[in-house]
Symmetry: C2
Subunit: 416 residues, 2 copies
């Protein structure tokens, strides 16, 4: 039996599904990942990886120019599992353990915090984004070890915190010295190969009104009413920007660089004219776009809307760039990492690889821009199901991703 | 010296201003009035009133058909000060001790919770709405007592809680048996006589969307986007309703029956399409309008907007009538209460009385509709300054109101 076939045959599918479910059962909303990280480290040890677990020094990290964070984090744990020798090319497989909040749990048709295997899917918060992908990396490594295969280069499996709000965990791993000749992040790409990702900067805008008793509401200035022209200007901006995207990696997207308003908070009493409105959102940035120029265009759109309103002219909205600041990143489609992954996918799944950029921010930017590590996204499931109720990952995708990652690590790192 | 002149001469202006400031220093936001009520009872005793202080039985009150409340109240204290005999007409002077929250205190140019006398005004939360008016009643009673005058009829000074969110305090006083031949509420009418008030029902509307990751926001449904047609429909409704108001008591109002949206809460993560938007507001109702019909018109406007949107058609907004439900009320301009007050105002201030309806809800509806007590609003200061930063009441108004109330109680109740 060929070595590669032996490794593919050693993949422990039951263990894989069990581990995904186990991790879903530990709610690890961004900022509260310690318990889940402990569990990942245990799994790594059971598999046979050397495990590095450390407390992230948030105070030092905060000074880094690429640091960004939204939640009020008290602690962060880094976990990296290592195998292989130092002779071949090294490879990082990176997955984040943090998940977004459940939303309104009563709207879920299946348990939020329990992995439910049903109709060939695993349901639960984090299934697709991205405990599923993280477990694929772990079980690919396990298959290699279980088959008695030794990698020539180092394989580093990184379980990172804080991806959803700025990538503090991956940044911490880079600063701890973890580099490699290539990196794959198992974000849900539907098993497409994503060598490019658009950026996304989070923003907060404050609109000031003037309070008054509701009974003379014409004498106050409603911050909600003054929000309307700013909202319309931003929706117009989104439309204009998205008509100009030519990159073939983004040809399938209706909104390659979306502008999402995710939070609005306005007023504090039904019978008062609302004095203040604060809204927060996420501004998509093109892969090759200059980040400062993108911000300037955004700020200009808000300023222009304000200039057309007598009140806003005198009380201009304030813009803060705050929280997740995901810069875009790109790796060549001709890089050995990309080509090795594509060939491995073809051999593992008997289907042709598909290349497509992604519109979401991920830790790719830290690996590429800070770590200078060529990085590609590749993982099970559909990102459309993430951050959403009834999130799930297909079991078939999990198996295919694990097979592909196993072949990729053997071919990229070499083995004996 | 004529008796009336002796009473007017006995008005303790320094004491009046001091008491207003004292009460402003006790933050008595709706639901947390116990400490301020205790202080009012002390002042009443110092003045020489017989004081009834009682713990309101909220559980029993909750069953009353006119009960309405927004805050999560744990307790409520009733305070009524009584003087005079049972021979003449009885009069209630009603003022609420609760105030709305401060809003953003950093925007106040003077202390929020401290009475600051400056430029002939007292500044601070509650100055005009309506600790100022309440103190006028107390100091009018004090002047009568200090001048050694005995009223033939009972005078009842009521300090009530929970006016801002439904009138639980005044309802409790009525149910405790406090009735009279007339009532004046010292709400800020700029010393105009208000024998009519529009109603106001608070509402909450929930708009359901569908969450999605911001990077594929077109695949979710933004509850904010779906709020827009409902918002526009309600603003249109407000415009239409306010063009049809003919009552001369409301001729000066640009919006006699305003529709205010006071709170919007939407979404919980900048990078998620917001799944749910909840907004709350206050719907003005005309003085002689049928309340059920007014609600029907409102509900129909929301339903019509929803019917024109494919998503909202399938996921119709839900409407709750919740919190303050202020029905309209009216007292004849020819009633002896109204005419006595008007003449007293003329004699006390040497200016002609002005009649004007008010657009805000107040406890008038409970006194009129539940207690069957003819009621008029009359008090110092401008309601436009209430629920607003840098709220103040003019000292001159406080003095004029106190003089007017002193003459009114003497003439309405009779005296010896």
């Amino acid at each position: 039996m060929k070595t590669e076939d032996r490794v593919l045959g050693a993949i422990d599918v039951d263990g894989l599904l069990g581990s995904v479910s186990d991790l879903i059962e530990i709610p690890s909303v961004t900022g509260e990942e310690a318990k889940a990280q402990k569990r990942v480290a245990e799994v790594m040890r059971e598999i046979g990886l050397d495990v590095d677990v450390w407390e992230i020094d948030l105070e030092t990290l905060r000074l880094h120019p690429h640091f960004s964070m939204e939640v009020d984090r008290r602690e962060g744990v880094g976990v990296v599992g290592v195998m292989g020798e130092a002779q071949g090319r090294s490879l990082i497989l990176n997955g984040h353990i943090d998940v977004v909040s459940a939303g309104d749990e009563s709207n879920w048709s299946r348990p939020t915090w329990k992995g439910t295997v049903e109709d060939g899917r695993i349901y639960g918060r984090g299934a697709v984004d991205m405990k599923g992908g993280l477990c694929c990396a772990l079980y690919a490594a396990k298959a290699v070890l279980d088959a008695g295969v030794k990698l020539n280069g180092r394989l580093l499996v990184e379980s990172v915190v804080g991806e959803e709000d700025g990538g503090v965990g991956t940044l911490a791993a880079i600063l701890r010295g973890y580099r490699a000749d290539g990196a794959i992040i198992m974000e849900p790409t539907e098993l497409k190969i994503a060598p490019a990702q658009a950026g996304a900067h989070c923003f907060r805008i404050t609109i000031q009104g003037q309070s008054a008793h509701a009974c003379v509401r014409g004498e106050g200035v409603s911050s909600l009413e003054k929000f309307m022209p700013v909202y319309n200007a931003l929706m117009d901006l989104e439309k204009r920007r998205n008509t100009g995207v030519k990159d073939p990696l983004f040809a399938t997207y209706r909104l390659p660089i979306p502008l999402n308003i995710g939070i609005v908070q306005c007023g504090n009493w039904p019978s008062s004219v609302p004095e203040k409105l604060i809204f927060e959102g996420r501004y998509g940035i093109g892969v090759d776009e200059d980040v400062s120029e993108a911000r300037r265009v955004f700020e200009e759109a808000v300023a222009r809307a304000a200039s057309l309103d007598d009140w806003l002219k005198k009380h201009p909205p304030t813009i803060e760039w705050w929280g997740g600041q995901f810069n875009p990143a790109r790796t060549s489609v001709d890089h050995p990492l990309t080509t090795t992954l594509a060939k491995a996918y073809q051999d593992a799944t008997l289907s042709g690889p598909v290349y497509e950029g992604v519109t979401y921010g991920s830790d790719m930017r830290h690996l590429v821009n800070v770590g200078k590590i060529p990085t590609v996204l590749f993982g099970p499931g559909d990102v459309r199901l993430s951050h959403r109720l009834n999130e799930y990952v297909p079991v078939d995708d999990l198996v295919k991703a694990t097979r592909t990652l196993a072949l990729t690590m053997m071919r990229f790192c070499g083995h004996s």
